[in-house]
């Protein structure tokens, strides 16, 4: 099978210094991209430049460095706004990452929910998407309902229909499952939730590296993601919220930045977005997040998605040749319902064993339950091996991975 790539992958790979390193004496083959993506030198340069030239606390300074840092940080917010096509830049709240964004919304809803209200989550969720809602339900007396999945790892939408009612206040779903790569039909999920007056929060941690979600077209109420999955640094992410919703939610944390006036009698809160950005933020992280989006957009998300889908199909076809290998989730063909994640097991071999042997060969994959224990329970397995591809991976790397996998299976059988 020939890859009809539109990308100059060899040129792109030169942007990523880490791809030159060796692990256990072998060239690194990094297939753990769904956990964290690697960082191009264009983003690393921005980080070095920030700390070398204009590191300062922002928003309150009168001096030049503070002004430069503030400008760069706010320009990055506008880049994020444009990338996600939010209506206003103040609808973009900087967070420390996806989990922070989810907790911010969950915390805000605790003042809006009452007993007998209902929250719906999907069976495909990451732990971080389940725990905050369980805690919220404990605090408010609301009930948590779950949209079940079928054996292909797809949500059963007819069941979703039966869960929705006028008590439903919030629906919570990931855009793409981290454990299986399933792309969920969020357009339909949002439309149906809105029909009963419920808000929708989408976890975009796994979608943002592969797609370019349009906030206004989706008409989504809240959307969260992390920069480190999109070639940016760790410790920074964004929460998009519709203005009307962000105004309804109370502040999440108290501190500097989020207030406009303070006396011992009363504090008035700052306007959006600062109401949700207490304390000194990750200034460098925010600026680098913007640089990461610039980098990805310069390559182009259409080209990225097309190439990653080719990698997915190429790898899947070869993997299915391996005896007793089982792929969980939707079958690979067609980018419509799956992204470049392959979650699998071989016979009864423990995923940890396969991951350990692959690591000895310099091949990085993830093993375990992927923080999605309910999905593993559903399939009655301890976990899976997960290989996930980004646009800087190559067909040759997949060949080496397949050869390594065959060798690991041979050793472990």
């Amino acid at each position: 099978m020939e890859l009809k790539t539109m990308l100059d992958v060899q040129k792109i790979r030169k942007d990523f210094p880490i791809l030159n390193r060796k692990v256990n004496g072998k060239p690194l083959i990094y297939l753990d991209n769904a956990a964290t993506s690697q960082t191009p030198k264009q983003v690393i340069d921005v980080i070095v430049d920030y700390y070398s030239n204009y590191n300062a606390n922002i928003h309150r300074g009168v001096h030049a460095l503070s002004q430069e840092a503030t400008d760069a940080y706010e320009q990055a917010r506008i880049k994020i706004q444009k990338h996600f096509n939010a209506k206003h830049s103040y609808e973009i709240i900087y967070t420390s990452g996806t989990t922070h964004g989810i907790n911010l919304v969950a915390s805000g809803f605790s003042s809006l929910l009452k007993k007998d209200d209902e929250i719906i989550v999907s069976a495909l969720e990451h732990h971080s998407n389940i725990v905050p809602w369980q805690m919220l339900c404990e605090r408010t007396g609301a009930t948590l309902k779950v949209i079940p999945m079928n054996t292909n790892g797809e949500l059963i939408l007819s069941e979703y229909d039966t869960l929705l009612n006028t008590n439903t206040k919030l629906v919570f779903v990931n855009h793409i499952s981290n454990a299986l790569g399933t792309i969920n039909p969020i357009e339909t999920i949002i439309e149906k939730a809105h029909a009963v007056g419920a808000a929708v929060l989408v976890d975009g941690a796994q979608s943002c590296p592969h797609l370019k979600p349009d906030m206004q077209a989706l008409d989504v109420d809240f959307y969260v993601c992390s920069a480190h999955k999109i070639c940016g640094p760790t410790g920074v992410g964004m929460l998009y919220g519709k203005e009307e919703w962000l105004k309804k939610l109370p502040p999440y944390q108290g501190g500097g930045e989020m207030i406009s006036e303070v006396s011992f009698e009363k504090t008035s809160y700052a306007d959006l977005p600062h109401k949700f950005e207490a304390g000194t933020p990750n200034v460098c992280g925010g600026i680098a997040f913007g640089a990461a989006l610039d980098y990805m957009n310069a390559i182009g998300f259409e080209a990225i998605a097309a190439y990653e889908n080719e990698l997915l199909e190429y790898a899947t076809a070869q993997m299915l040749q391996i005896e007793d290998l089982k792929i969980y989730g939707p079958e690979a063909s067609g980018a419509k319902n799956k992204t470049s994640v392959i979650s699998f097991n071989v016979g009864n071999i423990h995923p940890y064993d396969i991951g350990t042997i692959l690591d000895k060969m310099g091949i990085a994959v993830r093993t375990g339950h992927h923080c999605a224990q309910p999905i593993m329970d559903f399939y009655k397995i301890p976990g899976t091996v997960r290989a996930s591809f980004m646009f800087y991976n190559t067909k040759e790397e997949i060949d080496t991975f397949i050869a390594g996998l065959k060798k690991a299976v041979l050793m472990l059988s």
Binding site: I357, G368, P382, L412
Partner: protein, 140 residues
């Protein structure tokens, strides 16, 4: 043999291998021969949850010596357990308490005993020592 003598014997065995493949293949084979824990002892009480792989350990005292049996759901973890049990089982509790696991570094398997590895082995070693401490108290 003392724990130290057994450990030196294991180091000698591993020194014959030229590369990681031979070391791992040997360890996998050891894992396959591990005297399995009696199914009756494979209970939730005896389980050490390591996030990635599970480990079961059982101990009993025989002639003032502690006997360990163990199992894991992952074969590489099982291989390392086989090595640890070979060194620590059928020894006096006092010797088990005082023994260290430096020999694991010397046979090139150090990474498996990292506290962040989440395979249950670090907790398992603690558990072996806890059993030894408990039996030592009985002897005193």
């Amino acid at each position: 043999m003392t724990i130290e003598e057994i450990q030196n014997e294991i180091i000698d065995e591993f020194s014959m291998f030229d590369d990681w493949e031979e070391r791992y293949q040997y360890m996998i084979d050891l894992g396959k021969t591990l005297p399995l824990i009696d199914e009756a002892h494979k209970t939730d009480d005896n389980i050490i949850k390591g996030c990635q792989s599970k480990v079961w350990v059982h101990a009993n005292m025989n002639d003032d010596k502690v006997e360990f049996t163990a199992d894991s759901d992952a074969i590489i973890t099982k291989g390392i357990i086989a090595i640890l049990i070979r060194a620590f089982s059928n020894q006096h509790p006092k010797d088990i308490i005082e023994a260290n696991t430096d020999f694991i570094d010397k046979i090139g398997l150090k990474e498996h005993l990292s506290p962040t590895r989440a395979n249950g082995l670090v907790s398992m070693i603690k558990q072996l020592k806890m059993y030894a401490i408990a039996y030592q108290t009985q002897l005193n």
